[in-house]
C-alpha cells in the first residue's frame, strides 16, 4: 500500500468520524455546543 492510499484512507476515516460525531452531537448534547443553531443546520 503506497503513501497516497494511506493518506486517503485516513482522510476518509476522519471525514466519516466527523460526520457521525456531528449527527450524534445534534441529537444528544446541545448544552455543550458553542453556538446556537439559530441560523443554519450546520452550525455547531
Amino acid at each position: 500500500m503506497d503513501i497516497q492510499t494511506i493518506i486517503v484512507g485516513l482522510i476518509i476515516i476522519f471525514a466519516a468520524t466527523y460526520f457521525g460525531f456531528e449527527i450524534f452531537k445534534k441529537g444528544k448534547s446541545f448544552q455543550q455546543t458553542k453556538k446556537n443553531c439559530g441560523d443554519e443546520c450546520g452550525c455547531d
Binding site: 503506497d2 497516497q4 456531528e22 445534534k26 446541545f30 446556537n36 443553531c37 439559530g38 443554519e40 443546520c41
Partner: protein, 681 residues
C-alpha cells in the same frame, strides 16, 4: 407552593464575582434591543447557549472609557412570569442563579416609546429584582410621529430610575447612557427601587415572595393589577397625546398590507421581486465563482502527482465543496432581503396574514415563529416550538416545520432553475425562475397546512388556544443590523461547506471511487478514460462503485419519477443534507471529465448527460420532479436527530421521515407522469 422550575439564588452556588462589571440588556421584542446591543458592542460579540437549554445567550464587550464591561443581551421578553423558557432563563440570570454568569450589576431596560405601557410592565418586574435599572428609551421620534409626547423627566421621577432617550443607529444618547449605567452599577447593593412605595394594593418585601406568588392565583393576580395600576398612573402623568384624531402612519399602511386579499397579493408580489432579484444579481458572481473553482481544480490537478490523492482533492473535495460554495451570492442576497423585510417590520405583517390561515387549520398562533425560522433551517424552527405549551400543538408544529423551504434547498432549486428554466419569462416580464422558486416555497407551505389539518384532526387533536400577535411599527431598516445578519448567515453557510459538506463529499467520493473495477497499476479515472477514447470506462467505474450499486438498486423505484441511477445516488446522498445533491452531481459529472477538455460547468454536464440509448437523462420535467421531491422529502439527518431529542421518541422520527418521504414520492410521481401525460418533456 414554590414553582419547582425556578431556582432561588443560593449564595453557595453563586458564581465567583470578578471585578468586571456585568450589565444585562433587557426589553420587549422589537423594542430596539438588538440595535442597541450592536451599537454598544460593535463586532465584539459572541453567542452561546445557556447551559442545558437551547436559549441563545448573546454577550459582548462594551468599552466605556477604556473599561471593558460584559454586556449580556437577554432574550426578548414581555414579562418575567416564567411561563416560557426564555422568561425562566432571563429570571435566572437576574437572580444570579446560573453557574456561568454572575448576577448583573445593573440592567439596561430598553423601552419602546411607542408601546410604553406594555414595555413598562417588564420594567416593573425588573425593578423587583433589586438590581439598579436604567431605562434606554427608544423610538421616541416614532412616538412623536404618533403624536405621543413623552415627558422623560417626569417618567424618570415617577419610576425613580434614570431614563435616557437613545437613538442607537445614530449613536445619540450613548455617552449619557454609559455614564448613568456606571453610576447605577456603582450603587449596586443599595436598597432596591420600589415602584410600589406609594401603595397600589400590593406590596412585596423581597424577590422570593414574588416567585412564591406565581403559583398563588389570588396573590398573583393582585400583583399584576398593582403593576398595571402603577403603569397606568405613570403613563397618564408622563405621556401627553397631542392629537389622537390623526390616524397613525403604520395603521394606514396596515389596512392595505394586512388586508385578507390585497395583503396576500402584495406578499406574493414582494416575494416574486425578491426571487427575481436574487437570480439576476447573483448570476455574475456565481459564474465567476464557478469559473474560479474550475480553474482552481485544474491548477491543483496539474500541480499534484497523479494518483488517488489527486483524485480525492480534485474530484472529491474541490468539486464537492466548490459546487456548493458557488451558491454563496444567492444565499447572501436571500438573507439580505429577509433581513430588510424583518427590519422594516414587514415580516410581522406577512406573519399576520399567514397566521389567519394557520389558525383555520387548528395550528397554535405561536407556531408561526418556528415555521418562519424553518425557512432558514428546520432545526432552530423545531427548537423554537418550545414556546408552545401544549404538547399536541407543539408536535403538530414540529411535524410540519421541515416542509418550509430551508436555505439548504436553495442550491438545489437554483441549480435546476438555472439549468433548465433560465431566461424564460411568464407574461413577458416575470422570470419563470422566480415563479418556480415562489411555487416551491408555496408548495411547502400548502402541504404543511394540509398536513397540519389532518394531524390536528386525528393523532394530535386539541383545540388551539387564543393568541394575540403584535405588529411593530414600520421603520427604516438599519444597515448595520441588516449587514450583520447577512454576513452571519453567509459565514454559517461557508462554515457548513467547509465542515459537514466537506466530510460528506469525501465519503461520497470514496463510495463512488471504490471498489476499483480495474486496477492496472496506478491508473486513475481520467487516464483510463483517455486511453479508451471514451467515457465508457469511467461510467463502468461509477456503475460498479458502492454508490453506483446502491443507485442501480433503487433505480426501478425512482425511474417513474424521471430519475436514473446517477440521480438516485445523488438523492441517497442528499438524505444526509439536502444541498449534498449539488456536491454529489458535481462529483459524478466531474469524474467523467476529460483532463484536457475545458472544464464544463455542472449545468452543462447535467444538460449533456446521456443515457445508454443516447437520450438525455435530464429534461425540464425531470428537474421539476426533482424540485418537488426536495420540497417535501425529509432529507436532513441533523433535523431528524433534533426531532428525536425534542420529542424524546423514535416513533415520531420514523413517522416524520416516513410520511414526508412518501408524500414526496407521490408528489414527484404525479408531477413527472402528469407532466408527460400533458405533453411536457
Amino acid at each position: 407552593m414554590k414553582d419547582s422550575n425556578i431556582k432561588i439564588a443560593d449564595s453557595k452556588s453563586e458564581p465567583q464575582k470578578t471585578d468586571q462589571l456585568v450589565i444585562a440588556l433587557a426589553g420587549n421584542p422589537n423594542a430596539g434591543k438588538t440595535t442597541l446591543f450592536n451599537s454598544l458592542t460593535g463586532l465584539r460579540q459572541k453567542t452561546a447557549n445557556y447551559s442545558g437549554v437551547t436559549v441563545e445567550r448573546k454577550e459582548g464587550n462594551w468599552n466605556i472609557d477604556g473599561e471593558d464591561i460584559r454586556l449580556i443581551d437577554l432574550p426578548g421578553l414581555y414579562s418575567l412570569d416564567a411561563t416560557s423558557l426564555d422568561e425562566r432563563i432571563a429570571r435566572e440570570v437576574l437572580m444570579g442563579s446560573l453557574d456561568e454568569l454572575p448576577k448583573p450589576d445593573a440592567i439596561i431596560a430598553v423601552v419602546d416609546a411607542t408601546n410604553l405601557e406594555r414595555n413598562l410592565y417588564l420594567v416593573t418586574q425588573l425593578l423587583e429584582f433589586g438590581i439598579p435599572v436604567v431605562i434606554a428609551l427608544t423610538m421616541v421620534d416614532l412616538a412623536e410621529k404618533q403624536n405621543l409626547e413623552i415627558d422623560v423627566d417626569r417618567l424618570s421621577e415617577m419610576l425613580k430610575i434614570p431614563v435616557l432617550e437613545v437613538k442607537a443607529k445614530q449613536k445619540i444618547g450613548i455617552d449619557e447612557l454609559s455614564a448613568k449605567v456606571l453610576e447605577a452599577a456603582a450603587g449596586a447593593g443599595k436598597p432596591k427601587t420600589d415602584w410600589n412605595s406609594n401603595g397600589n394594593g400590593f406590596h412585596e418585601s423581597n424577590t422570593e415572595d414574588i416567585h412564591l406568588s406565581l403559583s398563588d392565583n389570588e396573590a398573583g393576580n393582585k400583583l399584576i393589577f398593582a403593576r398595571y395600576n402603577f403603569i397606568s398612573e405613570v403613563y397618564q402623568e408622563s405621556v401627553n397625546p397631542v392629537n389622537e384624531e390623526e390616524a397613525r402612519f403604520s395603521e394606514k399602511i396596515d389596512r392595505v398590507l394586512t388586508h385578507k386579499f390585497f395583503g396576500l397579493v402584495i406578499l406574493v408580489g414582494i416575494l416574486l421581486v425578491v426571487f427575481q432579484t436574487i437570480f439576476t444579481w447573483a448570476a455574475l458572481p456565481m459564474d465567476l465563482l464557478d469559473a474560479g473553482f474550475g480553474t482552481f481544480g485544474e491548477f491543483v490537478g496539474s500541480q499534484m502527482p497523479e494518483g488517488i490523492l489527486r483524485d480525492l482533492v480534485v474530484d472529491g473535495i474541490i468539486a464537492g465543496v466548490g459546487g456548493i460554495l458557488i451558491f454563496l451570492p444567492q444565499i447572501l442576497l436571500l438573507f439580505l432581503f429577509i433581513s430588510i423585510l424583518e427590519d422594516t417590520g414587514y415580516m410581522a405583517r406577512a406573519a399576520f396574514l399567514l397566521d389567519k390561515l394557520m389558525s383555520k387549520v387548528g395550528l397554535h398562533g405561536k407556531a408561526f415563529l418556528p415555521l418562519m425560522s424553518s425557512f432558514a433551517c428546520a432545526i432552530p424552527g423545531i427548537m423554537a416550538t418550545r414556546t408552545i405549551e401544549n404538547r399536541r400543538d407543539r408536535l403538530a408544529t414540529i411535524m410540519i416545520a421541515p416542509f418550509m423551504s430551508c436555505s439548504a434547498r436553495l442550491p438545489v432549486y437554483a441549480l435546476m432553475i438555472a439549468t433548465f428554466f433560465a431566461g424564460q419569462t411568464v407574461f413577458g416580464f416575470i422570470s419563470l425562475g422566480a415563479v418556480l422558486m415562489l411555487a416551491m416555497y408555496a408548495l411547502g407551505i400548502i402541504v404543511a397546512v394540509i398536513a397540519a389539518f389532518f394531524l390536528k384532526r386525528t393523532m394530535l387533536k386539541a383545540p388551539p388556544p387564543p393568541f394575540v400577535m403584535e405588529l411593530p411599527p414600520y421603520r427604516l431598516p438599519n444597515l448595520k443590523t441588516v449587514l450583520i445578519n447577512m454576513f452571519e448567515r453567509a459565514w454559517l453557510f461557508i462554515k457548513r461547506a467547509g465542515t459537514v459538506i466537506l466530510a460528506i463529499s469525501i465519503i461520497l467520493w470514496a463510495l463512488m471511487y471504490f471498489p476499483r473495477s480495474e486496477e492496472p497499476g496506478n491508473l486513475n479515472v481520467q487516464q483510463t478514460a483517455v486511453e479508451l477514447g471514451e467515457d465508457q470506462k469511467v461510467n463502468n467505474q461509477l456503475e460498479n462503485s458502492f454508490a453506483g450499486i446502491l443507485g442501480r438498486t433503487i433505480e426501478p423505484v425512482i425511474r417513474p419519477l424521471g430519475f436514473d441511477w446517477k440521480i438516485g445516488v445523488a438523492i441517497i446522498a442528499s438524505f444526509a443534507a439536502r444541498e449534498v445533491l449539488v456536491s454529489t452531481l458535481s462529483i459524478i459529472y466531474n469524474v467523467g471529465e476529460d483532463a484536457n477538455e475545458e472544464s464544463p460547468t455542472l449545468m452543462n454536464a447535467i444538460k449533456n448527460a446521456k443515457k445508454a440509448d443516447g437520450t438525455t437523462v435530464w429534461t425540464p420535467l425531470t428537474a421539476l420532479s426533482l424540485m418537488v421531491f426536495f420540497v417535501l422529502a425529509m432529507q436532513c439527518m441533523s433535523t431528524l436527530a433534533v426531532v428525536r431529542r425534542e420529542t424524546n421518541s423514535w416513533s415520531w422520527v420514523i413517522f416524520m421521515f416516513g410520511y414526508m418521504t412518501v408524500l414526496a414520492y407521490i408528489a414527484s410521481l404525479v408531477t413527472y407522469q402528469g407532466g408527460k401525460l400533458l405533453g411536457f418533456s
